[in-house]
């Protein structure tokens, strides 16, 4: 769901840039008080893996494809939505500047949708869900929502921008990203969560580490 240049009027681009600068300020504050040195390897490896897997578009029906976003699983594993924000900001800046994927003017809105909404929905979705269900299905559903809801938000933003009609925009963005959220995001995020829980559970944040009932 990388929005290209030209889809969002410049004045609206500026608003999204301002929002992410404010979130960025709080992310820096979070990191300076909470990001432990031992978490850096996991954060950097996840960033590299997300960049690679975002280049691997999975075919979905209707002649369309999609790829993982990854913000939710970073937020869950590192234990803060701000970690997901920082990782997606790095990934999206490199994609936009070096690979022409997502416009430079649209960098603010793309970081807002995937880095801010994806991370916060994924993180708090997981925290909320795991009080009702066990950890693994909670990861799956939270990461699914971390793609599906930003896609719906993007459809609304593109309607506000005068780029897509509202109802058909919601319909197509919604239906494509529900599929992507299941096969691209939910499944891969769950595999990553289980794998890291097996090999290096100590690297996962205490508050979101797998509880014994799940295995």
């Amino acid at each position: 769901m990388h929005i290209p240049d030209g889809f969002i009027p410049l004045w609206q681009c500026i608003i999204y840039y301002i929002i992410i600068i404010v979130v960025g300020y709080f992310a820096v504050r979070w990191a300076k008080t909470n990001l432990q040195e031992k978490q850096i390897p996991l954060l950097a490896v996840l960033a590299a893996g997300i960049f690679a897997i975002q280049a691997m578009n999975i075919p979905i029906p209707w002649g369309t494809s999609g790829h993982m976003v990854g913000a939710a699983i970073v937020a869950i594993l590192i234990g803060s939505p701000f970690a997901g924000f920082l990782v997606l900001a790095v990934v999206l800046i490199i994609q936009g500047l070096v690979f022409g994927d997502g416009g430079i003017t649209a960098l603010g809105i793309n970081i807002f949708n995937m880095g801010v909404l994806g991370s916060f929905i994924g993180f708090y979705g997981f925290k909320g869900l795991r009080s009702f269900i066990s950890d693994i299905p909670a990861v799956f559903i939270a990461c699914f929502l971390g793609v599906a809801i930003p896609a719906v938000a993007a459809a609304i933003e593109l309607w506000v921008a005068g780029t897509f009609p509202l109802i058909t925009g919601l319909y197509f963005m919604g239906i494509y990203h529900i599929i992507i959220g299941i096969v691209g995001e939910g499944v891969i995020s769950t595999i990553v969560y289980v794998a890291i829980s097996q090999v290096r559970p100590d690297l996962i944040a205490l508050g979101t580490r797998v509880s014994n009932k799940s295995f």
Binding site: G6, A31, V45, N57, T64, V87, I93
Partner: protein, 99 residues
């Protein structure tokens, strides 16, 4: 750095690089969800012209042409840039021990 943390980084990077090398061969070339929606319902008069030309547009090395190998090299370079960038950013912003 602990040996097992070094091992974790190496294994993680190997996985990322393998995905990066395979991506151009395996990835679907169909438009993604947003592009596909735009093809169907984009309002008239909207265009998606890039404001700046990027050095490796569409994940290829321009000098090597539109070839999967060219794509693999471009994506591996991207993996390295992102890893170094994320590591450096996190290291710079990390919580310092108050000693």
């Amino acid at each position: 750095m602990e040996t097992r943390t070094k091992q974790f980084i190496i294994v993680g990077l190997v996985v990322a690089v393998v995905i990066a090398i395979l991506a151009p061969f395996l990835a679907s070339s169909n438009p993604d969800g947003l592009e596909s929606t735009a093809e169907k319902i984009l309002n008239p008069g909207v265009s998606d012209e890039a404001v700046v030309q990027s050095p490796m547009p569409d994940y290829i090395i321009p000098a090597l042409g539109e070839d999967p190998i060219s794509g693999s090299i471009a994506i591996v370079i991207g993996v390295i840039i992102v890893f170094v960038g994320a590591y450096a950013l996190a290291f710079f912003l990390r919580k310092r021990d108050s000693s």
